[in-house]
């Protein structure tokens, strides 16, 4: 399993430049919004957490749709399916590798973007923490889409459509926890714990669904 | 605009959608049955039309 993790990390560094394109896209999204809302720093800092979260969500989509397709194309998927390791575990490890290579950089970059958006320290911290907790859920949800994409000749947009609706709850609680951290009356913990619960939930459901789809899609 | 307008449009839209759905399914069924009849006429038969004999052979 360790070897799979290492291989996938190596591949994404070697081949995709995945992390960088995600971060760049993320920055682009965040850089464009101020045009819309204008130079109103107050407003910017108000919608900051939401924008950062939306950027992260969209950036997570890039590349995720091909998580299993490359394995299918060169025949590796066949061998992976045949091993005695439970398939769920294998999927989990692949998700982990993808998260480390693509989402973790986003989490790390988010404080910087928070500064751009004129967010307070507390808000920046809250966004980073919620991203850290919430983005794995996005990866797990995406894995289901990617597994479905294996049976499609080309994934792309269709996968994103299938995946995005499921990601909405993650977004909602991630954003509301970030806001709760700044706005006084609302407590931070309840939405944050729900976010955590969602991540745990999808950490089970996602790999299960993905492995179910993979088993059924092979031909 | 009065309330009657909204009511009329709601019922109209719903009726229209239901009618479209019904019509589409109906026509689809008719077309499929026609195709099936054509295939039947051209002599292609379902394999299971004589399952037991088939199996004994």
């Amino acid at each position: 399993m360790m070897s799979l993790l290492l291989r996938d990390l190596k591949l994404s560094v070697r081949a995709g430049g995945g992390a960088l394109i995600g971060v760049l896209f993320f920055m682009t999204v965040v850089a464009v919004i101020p045009f819309g809302v204008g130079p109103d720093l107050n407003l910017l800092s108000r919608i900051g957490p939401a924008i950062v979260w939306i950027g992260a969500l969209l950036a997570a989509l890039l590349g995720l749709d091909r998580l299993f397709q490359t394995e299918r194309d060169d025949g590796s998927l066949d061998l992976i399916l045949m091993q005695e390791h439970p398939l769920v575990l294998t999927v989990l490890v692949k998700c982990l590798a993808h998260w480390l290579a693509n989402s973790l950089p986003l989490v790390i970059a988010s404080p910087l973007l928070g500064l751009f958006m004129n967010m307070s320290e507390v808000a920046i911290g809250a966004v980073a923490v919620t991203l850290l907790v919430g983005t794995p859920a996005l990866t797990f949800i995406g894995a289901v889409g990617a597994a479905v994409a294996v049976s499609l000749p080309r994934g792309g947009l269709l996968v994103s459509i299938l995946v995005l609706p499921l990601a909405i709850p993650v977004l909602i609680f991630g954003v509301s926890a970030s806001y709760a951290a700044v706005q006084d009356p609302a407590p931070f913990m309840p939405p944050f714990l729900i976010l955590l619960a969602i991540t745990m939930f999808f950490a089970v459901i996602g790999p299960l669904g993905a492995s179910l789809a993979l088993r059924n899609a092979s031909d | 605009m009065g309330h009657d307008f909204y009511i009329a449009v709601s019922y109209g839209v719903s009726g229209l959608i239901i009618a479209l759905m019904l019509g589409w399914i109906w026509l689809d069924g008719r077309a499929r049955q026609r195709e099936l009849a054509e295939l039947e006429a051209s002599g292609i038969r379902r394999r299971s039309s004589a399952p037991v004999k088939d199996g004994a052979a």
Partner: protein
């Protein structure tokens, strides 16, 4: 140690490709599938490897050392039309990954990566990225996968495609050694592999159509 297939039938699209195929292979035995293009050889191999669900029937693996509950596919190596190697990684990295990921089965032991590359006749070039190899070299390295981790059953789909005659002989030798050590072979080929004492199974394709119209 015994690989048993019972009354297998498989579908492609909506039609049955074959039905009622049964065989039983013990230690040191091999079965070669022959038949025309599209007759269902690869399909049968994928069914046995557990990659396609049979419409009917089952594949079982039984041995004295392991309990019977394991899936047959876990005892198998599958070498398909595609090589299952990443072009971006070096041969060494690819093989090391498969060695570790697959592990060894039931007490057997695979050879080291360097040793396996040596055995397929490409000892010197394991440091190159896989994508830099020629078609035949790639195929050889894909074969080396079978050596680095031990599996009693080898399922090979046209293993000798793209190979030169010398490599073919090497492969035949390696397969012979595997059988001599009590392995089991299931292979599909168009060219004879040159291994003696194998059973043969001729595939005809499209059960129900083929019987009537087979040329």
């Amino acid at each position: 140690m015994r690989l048993t297939a019972e009354k297998l039938a498989a579908r492609r699209g909506e039609d049955l490709l074959f039905s009622d195929i049964s065989f039983e292979l013990g230690a040191g035995e091999g079965l070669i599938l022959i038949g025309r293009n599209g007759s269902g050889k690869s399909t049968l191999l994928r069914v046995v490897a557990g990659l396609l669900r049979p419409e009917f029937g089952q594949v079982r693996w039984s041995s004295s050392s392991t309990d019977d509950a394991i899936r047959a596919s876990e005892a198998c190596h599958y070498l398909g039309h595609r090589n299952a190697m990443k072009a971006e990684l070096s041969v060494q990295e690819n093989l090391a990954f498969w060695k570790e990921f697959c592990g060894d089965f039931g007490g057997g032991e695979g050879v080291s990566v360097a040793e396996a590359a040596e055995q397929v006749g490409l000892g010197g070039i394991a440091h190159l990225p896989f994508g830099y190899l020629s078609a035949g070299q790639q195929r050889r390295m894909a074969f080396a996968k079978l050596l680095v981790s031990y599996r009693p059953v080898w399922i090979l789909d046209e293993p000798t495609a793209a190979l030169d005659t010398r490599a073919e002989a090497t492969f035949a030798d390696l397969i012979r050694q595997h059988l001599a050590r009590g392995g089991i072979l299931l292979a599909a080929t168009h060219q004879p592999l040159g291994i003696e004492g194998m059973q043969e199974l001729r595939m005809t394709g499209f059960a129900g159509v083929a019987e009537e119209f087979a040329a």
